[in-house]
């Protein structure tokens, strides 16, 4: 095979140059395989959340001299492939990483569908699979089916019910009234959240005065916003996805939608959201959130900007980084590259990550942030699944300027 030969040549050339340079340290490396979108519908999200976190982690680890494996420091090398947001490509990429590149470990793919499509193959090769960008209610079932999988970004149920809790908090303090407009994007994600959010709203005593869903390719949000405005809501909740999160906010700004709480879904936590909406972002609630007051997180964001040149999002990006920290610490604990031993270590261990201390409960992280809010140019966490996680007070949305 051509590729093999090419690799061999490169390896030989590298070795030769190392010898010529007189460097007596033939440093051993650990190879990680990464397959995620660089093109296709999910490429935009992956470019903010996924790839820079990997780049940063590799940079950090190698700057420290590598991962400590049984006393020797091993440098980290990542082999990257594009899955073009496509299942077939993703499966083939994983196969290639496992059997042609023979990587030591894998970094989980990006997106719910692709994480599930590749899970059986990753399990077959016995790699630990630390999924991040897969928010679904099936996590317990998946963890049982594939014991090598770990799920870190939570469930739709918690995400939606926490959003309702935040709204209920605002209502109970007298800041907003009882009327809610609820819209969602008609894809897997939006529907799961809406199905969890609607009963939660009703249970919390809210009155749903307007409700609709829209197809994922929707461009024009004027009808939705004006219909919602006509219903005179106190709060506007949209379980939305990146293009429409921006579209809905822009339209609400234009129409000067008069609500005391405005909630949008994925991408609200992106730095680009603040960039696109400026002052109008003030007070907007959204999915995600990190503990912005934690000095570790402040350092992480500054360090991320310094190394990658981009601001991380305030949701999944530091979680991706955390899963890589978990992998690194588990490998060091085990002291070898034995995958099954690493899986066991992740199962039973406690890990120090940028998201705080992590222990997996049945392969799942159950304490995490679910709701954030733009406050004075920062996206601060205002809702979490556990009272142990410190959150800020949510504020009422006052206008769009």
């Amino acid at each position: 095979m051509k590729r093999r030969n090419l690799l061999k040549t490169i390896t030989a050339a590298t070795l030769a140059s190392a010898v010529l340079a007189g460097g007596a340290y033939a440093q051993e490396t650990i190879t990680f395989g990464a397959s995620a979108p660089k093109t296709g519908p999910l490429a935009g999200g992956a470019a903010v959340t996924h790839w820079p976190a990997i780049q940063l982690w590799v940079n950090d680890v190698n700057e420290r001299g590598g991962i400590d494996v049984g006393g020797t420091k091993m440098l980290v090398e990542v082999i990257e492939y594009d899955d073009a947001t496509n299942n077939e490509n993703a499966i083939r990429n994983i196969q290639r990483l496992a059997t042609v590149d023979e990587v030591d470990f894998l970094i989980a793919p990006y997106g719910t569908g692709i994480n599930l499509a590749t899970a059986p193959i990753i399990a077959q090769y016995g790699y630990p699979h630390l999924a991040v960008t897969a928010v679904t209610d099936g996590v317990d079932e998946f963890a049982e089916r594939w014991p090598n999988t770990f799920w870190t970004l939570g469930t739709s149920r918690d995400t939606a019910s926490n959003a309702v809790d935040v709204l209920a908090g605002l209502r109970d303090s007298g800041a907003i009234g009882n009327r809610v407009a609820l819209v969602n994007v008609a894809d897997a994600f939006g529907i799961e959240l809406a199905n969890a959010g609607k009963p939660a709203l009703e249970e919390a005593g809210f009155e749903i005065v307007y409700e609709t869903s829209y197809p994922p390719t929707t461009q024009d949000f004027a009808p939705i916003i004006s219909a919602a405005a006509a219903a005179d809501p106190d709060a506007f909740v949209a379980f939305s996805y990146p293009p429409d999160t921006f579209g809905l906010t822009a339209q609400a700004t234009i129409a000067n939608l008069d609500v005391g709480a405005f909630y949008t879904g994925v991408a609200t936590a992106f730095p680009g959201y603040l960039g696109a909406n400026g002052a109008a972002a003030q007070g907007v609630l959204g999915i995600g959130g990190v503990n912005i007051n934690d000095p570790g997180m402040v350092d992480y964001i500054a360090h991320h900007e310094e190394v990658t040149g981009a601001t991380p999002d305030y949701w999944a990006n530091p979680v991706v980084y955390s899963t890589l920290q978990v992998m690194e610490q588990a490998i060091t604990q085990v002291g070898s590259l034995d995958r099954q031993a690493v899986i066991d270590a992740i199962h039973n261990g406690t890990f120090d990550t940028v998201m705080g201390e992590w222990t997996f409960d049945g392969n799942i992280i159950r304490d995490y942030y679910t709701v954030g809010q733009w406050q004075d140019g920062k996206f601060v966490a205002v809702g979490a699944t556990s009272p142990d996680l410190p959150v800020s007070e949510a504020v009422v949305k006052e206008g769009w300027e």
């Binding site: 590729r3 660089k38 093109t39 519908p41 990257e80 492939y81 594009d82 899955d83 073009a84 496509n86 299942n87 077939e88 490509n89 499966i91 083939r92 990429n93 196969q95 290639r96 496992a98 059997t99 042609v100 719910t112 569908g113 599930l116 499509a117 899970a119 059986p120 193959i121 077959q124 090769y125 679904t136 099936g138 089916r145 008609a186 894809d187 897997a188 529907i191 799961e192 199905n195 869903s213 197809p215 994922p216």
Partner: protein, 321 residues
């Protein structure tokens, strides 16, 4: 229909040997080679089934994604209640039914109208499925958890490939195939000589759609998670057209010589130039249209003719001397 000739028997035996060889890949090849083989097998069946209709009629159908998605969904919805082999047949039947309805309504269209309609069809079905799941079920995704591994999917695809090739061959020798060739050359003439063109086209569209639906069904367990954007992925429709045209549609095995190089090329491109895949697809389209208007098989036929003429010229020159 007459009996197969000796040459056809030879081809059949050769094909069978190749098929068995490919079926042994899981025992010798690495996982990567195996999944590349699965992708090749998948596109082979899709392209051959596509060419079954679009080859002789010259109607470019972009409905592949619609039939494929229907098949995938048939498995996603029925996995709990029916055994898998039955589901593959159900998937074929559903896709055939869709092809029949669509065919009756649209095969009176021709040229670009038909192309646009079939492109819209995949989108229409996708939106209908989404709408239905949004309003009547609790989630848009479906889980397809089975014990099938890549090799099982490969073997099923190979079985289907054999079936597609045999069907294609049988049709090409039948009255239907003859009628299709006349329709492809001149539809007006076909009508005048008494061929029920609408019926012939619908029939072939249905058979072709059924096979594509079955591929979707076989592939469903590989994806584990079925949702409209991945099931009704329009890229499949386009890739099938490119690969089939690259190979050439005037031979039953024509699409095959397009599928193999194209799948491997795409694979190498995504590995080495992950940011340029759309450009490669565009360039491939241009290259096929400009350099290989009749595909690889067309080129081979042209070369054959050229060689004959060359021999003739050489012989004449010999006589003259």
């Amino acid at each position: 229909m007459s009996l197969p000739t000796t040459r056809e028997w030879q081809i059949a035996v050769g094909g069978l040997i190749v098929l068995i060889g490919v079926a042994l890949v899981p025992f010798f090849g690495s996982g990567y080679v195996l999944s590349l083989t699965v992708n090749i097998a998948m596109y082979t069946v899709l392209c051959t089934a596509w060419a079954m209709f679009s080859g002789p009629t010259h109607y470019i159908s972009l409905a592949t994604a619609a039939f494929f998605g229907i098949g995938t969904y048939a498995v996603g919805l029925g996995l709990e209640t029916l055994p898998f082999p039955v589901l593959v047949l159900v998937a074929g039947a559903c896709a055939a039914a869709l092809a029949a309805v669509v065919g009756i309504a649209t095969l009176r269209l021709s040229g670009v109208y038909f192309v646009i309609f079939t492109l819209g069809l995949a989108e229409l079905v996708k939106q209908v499925v989404t709408w239905w799941q949004t309003n009547f079920t609790t989630s848009v995704g479906l889980y397809v958890f089975t014990d099938f591994r890549e090799q099982h999917i490969l073997w099923m695809l190979l079985g289907l490939a054999a079936l597609v090739f045999i069907t294609s061959w049988a049709i090409s020798r039948s009255k239907l195939g003859f009628a299709m060739r006349i329709i492809g050359n001149d539809e007006t003439v076909a009508k005048h000589v008494g061929i029920d063109t609408a019926r012939a086209k619908v029939l072939l569209f249905v058979i072709s759609g059924a096979f594509i639906g079955m591929v979707g069904a076989i592939l469903a367990p590989r994806f584990a998670y079925v949702e409209p954007p991945s099931a009704f992925n329009t890229m499949i429709s386009f890739q099938v057209v490119i690969m089939a045209l690259l190979g050439g549609t005037n031979r039953i095995w024509g699409p095959l010589v397009g599928v193999i190089p194209f799948t491997i090329l795409m694979d190498q491109m995504t590995a080495y130039f992950p940011n340029h895949t759309p450009i490669v697809i565009g360039l491939a389209f241009l290259a096929i249209v400009y350099v290989l208007p009749h595909g690889v098989t067309g080129l081979m036929a042209d070369l054959g003719k050229l060689r004959k003429r060359f021999k003739l010229v050489a012989a004449n020159a010999g006589e003259g001397a």
